[in-house]
């Protein structure tokens, strides 16, 4: 999983992709996940980190994360590893 490293993410959840000129809003947990990917974490590490901090079981979060990364891919913010 490779996050587009050029993204600008503001604290208020405003996300700008300079490559395409598109902008997005992302909720705090979404911003946190993007930040974790940017640090180079794998999907499993992201799941560990979030389920440690938040009231959510692993299955539910895994499903939501898969959905979220799917959307990041359709917006070209995330690339599948080659």
């Amino acid at each position: 999983m490779k996050i587009n490293q050029n993204l600008a993410v503001s604290e208020s959840g405003f996300l700008f992709n300079p490559g395409t000129g598109e902008s997005f809003t992302v909720n705090p947990i979404g911003a946190e996940i993007i930040a974790l990917f940017r640090k180079g974490m794998t999907q499993d590490q992201v799941i560990d980190s979030i389920t440690d901090q938040y009231h959510v079981d692993r299955n539910t979060f895994e499903k939501d994360l898969q959905d979220f990364t799917g959307i990041l891919k359709t917006y070209s913010l995330l690339k599948q590893d080659d």
Partner: protein, 451 residues
């Protein structure tokens, strides 16, 4: 360490340009309570999905509409349109408020009688009354609204066999400037059918002609259409006065006022665009007061308002079963209430709110019911806060027609609960069980067994 509250990760792209037809933001706050009772408590006690009716809203709407008319016109009478919602508890709220009953079948007629309505205060409409029903209604002194010539002749015949004189009106259809014009029921005004039928009644001498009826359509967005209708009925009344010196007791303008729902395809919410009770009342009252009737002659004005009196009193509480992504990336949410409970989803963009929390994030979602059928779509597109499985949603303005046109299909039908004015919840119709469906079935002997 205490863990943080979880919300699904969510991202949306800013779209530039005009908001789309479905792009209206839904910033409605969550509906955590209905008439002081917590939604979560209702679902825990009575199950999900759940129909909820507010007695307070019904009475408030009735009093508001009654006042709109009674402050403008001297003699007003409402008759509750049973087909709109014939749960007996609901009917009796209207009867307690002073409504008569308006029925369109033998089943509804008997229901009104068993609810305790004085038969002389039952208006019997509809195109399909049997001879037996006409005999019963005549003997009871109910008001029979004749729909077509075959019924007129049948009733003249019935009149010969019973001691009472049938008390009748005819239903008139007419051009009021709205489209579509409902000309399927009753006798037409413009082509003279209605006047012909009135002449037949007067010449027969067998029927007691009490009034005239029209029901110009439903969800009528133009108050002026009612002014046209009232004037046309007043014209017929004048002709009867002139030719037969016959004075009618009442004019019945039927139902059809729009509720606060939003019709599919409308850009603006119905609560902003639909005429108010005062506008309808003004149109009808001034048309009658400005007609030929002298002050003392003004006939009783009867109204058979249905949906506008009950839509807002009804809610469906439902639970999120799953969140999905469609192949296009669209979000879809499946809830446990489908179109089998919400017939009006085919006409309305029902207002829907969440029942808990309130994420500041919204996503555009298709909302589907639990039926394994493609048609089971509650909203094609709605902006809702992020929801998790087992969260509750509240579907608003569901009080009219759903509890009569709903069907048992795939799932059993749920409890219906009425919240009274003291915030007590009462079951007014029990949820169905296996026996509600299978109890009426019979299996021929040769089909009773298989290997």
């Amino acid at each position: 360490m205490e863990k943080k509250i979880y919300e699904r990760p969510h991202i949306v792209r800013f779209e530039t340009g005009m908001p789309g037809k479905f792009g209206m933001r839904n910033d409605l706050p969550p509906t955590t309570h209905i008439d002081g009772v917590a939604v979560s408590e209702l679902v825990t006690r009575f199950g999900s999905p759940l129909f909820v009716l507010s007695e307070n809203s019904i009475r408030t709407a009735y009093r508001k509409l009654y006042k709109a008319f009674s402050t403008r016109y001297p003699k007003v009478q409402f008759a509750w349109s049973y087909k709109t919602n014939y749960l007996s508890a609901v009917c009796n709220i209207f009867h307690q408020e002073g409504s008569w009953a308006e029925v369109v079948s033998g089943f509804e007629y008997d229901k009104a009688i068993s609810n305790g309505v004085d038969p002389r205060k039952i208006i019997f409409n509809g195109p399909a009354k049997t001879r037996e029903e006409l005999v019963k209604a005549t003997e009871n002194g109910s008001l029979i609204h004749i729909d077509h010539l075959d019924e007129l002749y049948l009733l003249i015949d019935v009149a010969g066999s019973v001691s009472q004189k049938p008390r009748v009106a005819i239903r008139v259809n007419m051009d009021t400037g709205i489209y579509p014009m409902w000309d399927r029921f009753g006798f037409n005004y413009e082509n003279g059918q209605a006047w012909d039928a009135l002449n037949k009644i007067m010449h027969s001498g067998k029927l007691d002609l009490m009034g005239l009826h029209t029901h110009i359509g439903t969800f009528i967005m133009s108050a002026n259409a009612y002014a046209v209708a009232a004037s046309k009925l007043a014209d017929l009344a004048r002709s009867l006065q002139q030719k037969f010196n016959h004075h009618l007791k009442y004019l019945d303008l039927g139902g059809g006022f729009a509720s606060k729902n939003t019709l599919k395809g409308s850009y603006l919410p119905g609560s902003d665009t639909n005429p108010s009770f005062n506008e309808y009342a003004e149109a009808i009252s001034s048309a009658l007061i400005n007609s030929h009737f002298t002050q003392g002659e003004l006939p009783l004005l009867i109204l058979e308002t249905g949906r506008a009196l009950i839509d807002e009193a009804g809610y469906i509480l439902s639970t999120v079963i799953a969140n999905k992504r469609m192949s296009t990336g669209r979000r879809a949410t499946i809830i446990d209430a489908g179109v089998s409970l919400l017939f009006t989803a085919f006409w309305y963009q029902h207002q829907i709110t969440v029942a808990q929390g309130n994420s500041q994030y919204r996503e555009d979602t298709s909302l589907y019911g639990p039926l394994c059928m493609n048609i089971d779509c509650i909203r094609d597109s709605i902006n809702l806060p992020l929801m998790n499985v087992n969260d509750h949603v509240v579907i608003h303005n569901t009080g009219a027609y759903n509890l009569t046109q709903w069907m048992q299909f795939i799932h059993l039908r749920p409890n219906v609960v009425l919240i009274d004015e003291k915030s007590n919840a009462h079951i007014v119709r029990n949820k169905e069980d296996q026996d509600s469906v299978n109890g009426n079935e019979m299996i021929p002997e040769h089909l009773a067994k298989f290997e």
